[in-house]
Symmetry: C2
Subunit: 128 residues, 2 copies
């Protein structure tokens, strides 16, 4: 494992995801204040992947500089509001899921051992 590389990749994914959430928020806001622009951004976002955030923002720079600035502002705002809670939320989520799957594995192993021992004891009975 290369934790540093994993951390860098994870941070990149997260930054990209916050860009996506910022765009979604702005489309929501625009659909009330400027429906034409909301449709434009929505269509642009369906032909340009936000995940590929460099290309997405570069393209937007040509046509809609003011939207780039707005995405920057909303994304930073979102980041400030959510980032500090993320590590604890993910840690808890992983612990809960681990517990759930470990219990499932244990239950299935116990069941298969029980059914083995039952069939063994049945065999023993039939042999008596």
């Amino acid at each position: 494992m290369y934790p540093k590389k994993v951390a860098q990749d994870t941070a990149k994914i997260l930054q990209s995801y916050l860009t996506f959430q910022a765009v979604r928020t702005i489309i929501d806001q625009l659909s009330e204040t400027n429906p034409t622009e909301a449709i434009w951004l929505s269509q642009y976002s369906s032909t340009h992947k936000v995940q590929d955030s460099d290309t997405y923002l570069e393209g937007l720079m040509l046509d809609r500089k003011e939207l780039v600035l707005r995405i920057m502002t909303v994304r930073q705002h979102l980041a400030e509001q959510v980032l500090e809670f993320i590590p604890e939320m993910v840690r808890t989520g992983i612990e809960q899921e681990n517990l759930q799957y470990r219990r499932q594995v244990l239950e299935r192993l116990t069941q298969s051992q029980l059914s083995n021992s039952t069939s063994n004891s049945e065999e023993n009975h039939s042999q008596e």
Copy 2:
């Protein structure tokens, strides 16, 4: 904006991404210790999306319980190693990108104002 919902969705995306990184790590490890199993997991992962982590892990529970436990362990280990650094890395990444795009917008605005004023002054000269 609904920061709580955004935080929950972001944590889910991150948990899913760490599952993906855990699977990748395990395929790497297996390709040295058990190539047949590495190929099996690699093929399973190409037909089942890790992003849809519930379905992915449920399917794996039927065939390879021990792999589910291994993914749980590796993912938790990765989470412990990287999570604490993520908020700061994302914050820095966003600040740097914001700075870069704000500078670009400013440069383009200045250029277009400069070229406007140049063409204006040329017009004035030609009118003289």
